[in-house]
Symmetry: C2
Subunit: 445 residues, 2 copies
């Protein structure tokens, strides 16, 4: 089970939590009864893909087929349609997974920007390798992904012919409508569902995240099992469960004028989990001129870049440390050196992991002395089951924290604004109206 420790944040006392008691109880009701804002987007609460289900079996079968007939999987998706899968794979299989010769296909994420150079680079890496494509889009018209997929479809069809290409393209999309679903039906792509009641940032435990993860060799049974067990632990408990404490703590900090939450891990493999976290909380809470701005850092590395600011800069943040309880069993041991020129013999016999833990505790205390308080989220460690628990913990914490903030944690109305302008500038049919005005504004820059 995931734990949350905040005792060391000495400025926060029980009375602070009590002050949020009413809002928290209300938030809890919304979560348990599905009757708060955005309640039709709570599909993630009970998981839409259960470990033992037809859908999960089909995902695993499809992944097994890709692992059998492909050296590379290209995942086309943006936002929630790529961050979760990439985060899970990098954390469990390292950011170097595409270079490791361990029997898993390479998995690349494309279609998440308009950077044509990156698409070219990834295609050059596919030379001489057998390729499959998983295109992930609810509508099929999200521009970044649709552009990349149009190019990739041409690539696949010219390389494999129309029929084999169709067998190597998998669409994860809406169950009933949309451009991608239509195309998939016409072409005969295998399809997986993005449920209507699960938003992109909550979709990592649907086919969106599970299929790429399974292709990369992730044990999705254990991942889902962990999430289910974390869910059960919350449902079996009351507001004393760690997830409520974390949700309340964030709002206590915000109410005191903190503007930033810095998610800290001491493991560089966690970097993209940080990106995933930033979307989850930033998009859920950043509305109505509210919200903590989510940042992330990898320590001790970033202590040598951001550490100075955290220690002595503007007192605008608190730190949330994600800590694996079970360390790395294969962590190298520091060798003894007769010369001891570097003066490190006091460390000899210790593992790097041992040192990392001491660095964490030393840093927490130093930052507290400097005025930046830290809380700790303990979770099992670097395995599928524990990561599933952690993911669900963050899901629930995000929903509860957003409800305490009195926003709808499940919409993202602000994401449309840039698209409208972009479409007008690009001459998309139906968006002509604003174009001249926008051009005039741009000319004035």
């Amino acid at each position: 089970m995931v734990n949350f420790r905040y005792k060391q944040a000495e400025s926060v006392v029980e009375a602070d939590f009590e002050a949020f008691g009413e809002l928290l109880a209300k938030a809890d009701g919304f979560y348990r009864n599905k009757n708060g804002k955005g309640n039709d987007f709570l599909g993630w609460r009970d998981l839409t893909v259960l470990p033992e289900s037809e859908e999960h079996d089909r995902i695993k079968k499809c992944a097994a087929r890709i692992r059998e007939n492909s050296d590379v999987l290209l995942v086309v998706g943006i936002g929630g349609s790529y961050l979760g899968a990439r985060a899970v794979i990098e954390y469990l299989k390292t950011p170097y997974h595409n270079q490791l010769k361990n029997g898993n296909p390479e998995v690349y994420f494309v279609g998440n920007s308009f950077a044509g150079g990156e698409l070219n680079t990834v295609l050059s890496l596919c030379e001489g390798k057998r390729v499959s494509v998983n295109v992930i889009s609810k509508s099929g018209t999200t521009t970044e992904s649709a552009v990349a997929f149009r190019i990739l479809r041409e690539y696949m069809e010219s390389r494999y012919g129309k029929e084999e290409a169709a067998s190597r393209i998998i669409a994860t999309t809406d169950a009933n409508r949309g451009a991608l679903l239509s195309l998939a039906k016409t072409e005969g792509y295998e399809c997986f569902v993005i449920p209507d009641d699960v938003g992109g940032r909550f979709s990592v435990l649907t086919a969106v995240g599970l299929l790429p993860a399974a292709v990369a060799g992730v044990d999705t049974d254990a991942l889902l099992k962990g999430a289910l067990d974390e869910r059960a632990s919350i449902f079996a408990c009351d507001l004393s469960h760690p997830v409520y404490k974390y949700a309340a703590f964030r709002n206590i900090m915000l109410s005191r004028g903190k503007t930033n939450e810095l998610l800290v891990s001491y493991d560089p493999d966690f970097r993209f989990m940080g990106e995933w976290f930033k979307q989850l909380f930033g998009e859920s809470e950043g509305k109505e001129k509210k919200g903590l701005f989510p940042s992330s850092a990898t320590y001790s590395s970033d202590l040598h870049s951001l550490g100075q600011f955290v220690q002595e800069g503007s007192p605008i943040m608190f730190e949330t440390i994600v800590r694996p309880v079970n360390g790395d069993k294969n962590s190298p041991v520091i060798p003894f050196d007769n010369e001891n020129g570097d003066g490190l013999n006091f460390l000899s016999g210790m593992t790097m992991d041992d040192i990392n833990e001491k660095a964490m505790m030393g840093t927490l205390l130093a930052h507290r002395d400097g005025g930046t308080e830290s809380v700790i989220i303990d979770f099992g460690g670097k395995d599928e089951y524990s990561l599933g628990e952690l993911i669900y913990f963050f899901f629930a914490a995000c929903a509860l924290s957003g409800y305490v903030l009195e926003v709808n944690p499940f919409d993202q109305p602000g994401v449309e604004a840039y698209k409208k302008n972009m479409f007008a500038l690009l001459g998309k049919p139906g968006y002509e109206a604003g174009k001249e005005e926008l051009l005039a504004k741009i000319n004035a820059i």
Copy 2:
């Protein structure tokens, strides 16, 4: 030359700049006369390695030798001893550089954390490849790097024997003192200098950054030339130079209560330049309870994660967009599709790069409407010369901005705090005093 555009930030008018005129003039004096706080760390101002110099020749010769006799270079360093080189290589050679078969050796950055798993992974990638090591540390006792280097030295010596290992290890360190220099002298490693008057975060244009970059195939002549030309353009100009406007703009935003600067690029290859930027500004300004917290984002990707917050969340930030004037000539063209199921034919014939530029402008205007203002830093584009200009622009902007903020932009006193605690917890000789007290504090968590 790098340009800075701020007209579109309509809330900021000339009077705002004038209000900072006196501080800016003072900052300018400190920069030109080297007589402000931290003035003995202004070595970067005139560059310590000139394009045509003995030092640069030696760096290039060493790089050529490594390119000849090695398939992999392992760079051991933390903070400024790795971020700059990694940022330059990833931007110019893509984050996939280690997988591209383009005749350049692979370059991995290790010793920047206590994550033993990462070190193991990188060593597994070295199997069957010829390896060289560049260890970068002013003192040789920075724990993260020293630990990794102790393990790597053993690895190299057991693999190559003591003599050949020594010819494959290059030390970038202090010219006159320190544990690493002593060891290098004893063992006969080739040495390069970290100048006394250049701090880590300003060191990318010394051997610290130049050697790894040159090994990766970066044209360091052009990089240095760009930096020198940007320097000359500042020295030939007065306070109307863009660099002063940017330095003042940041302080105007801070004085209005903005807490965060978000550095935005529309190119995923720029991601680590963002990390480099975060160290440069965060460590220079985050002191005396002051400073803008630096974050970075890659658009349009992160518009689907952080975009909601920027558009509608807490109004705590402004955006600084880094924009290459010369686009990507090899950007893929959107193909025409008879079916047009995805409705993208309005884009056919355009390049992804064209679309990216429209996305940028549309986003800027949308965010402004939402209350988040953006400024634009225009620079040449993805080539060594332009990147050199940009790097120098940021160096100078950082120094000037820090002086306007009335801090010493060149020290980092807060970085020691966590180390002291960590050393006490690890039992480092000389740090025993605080240990019991720290342990008591930890037990209370």
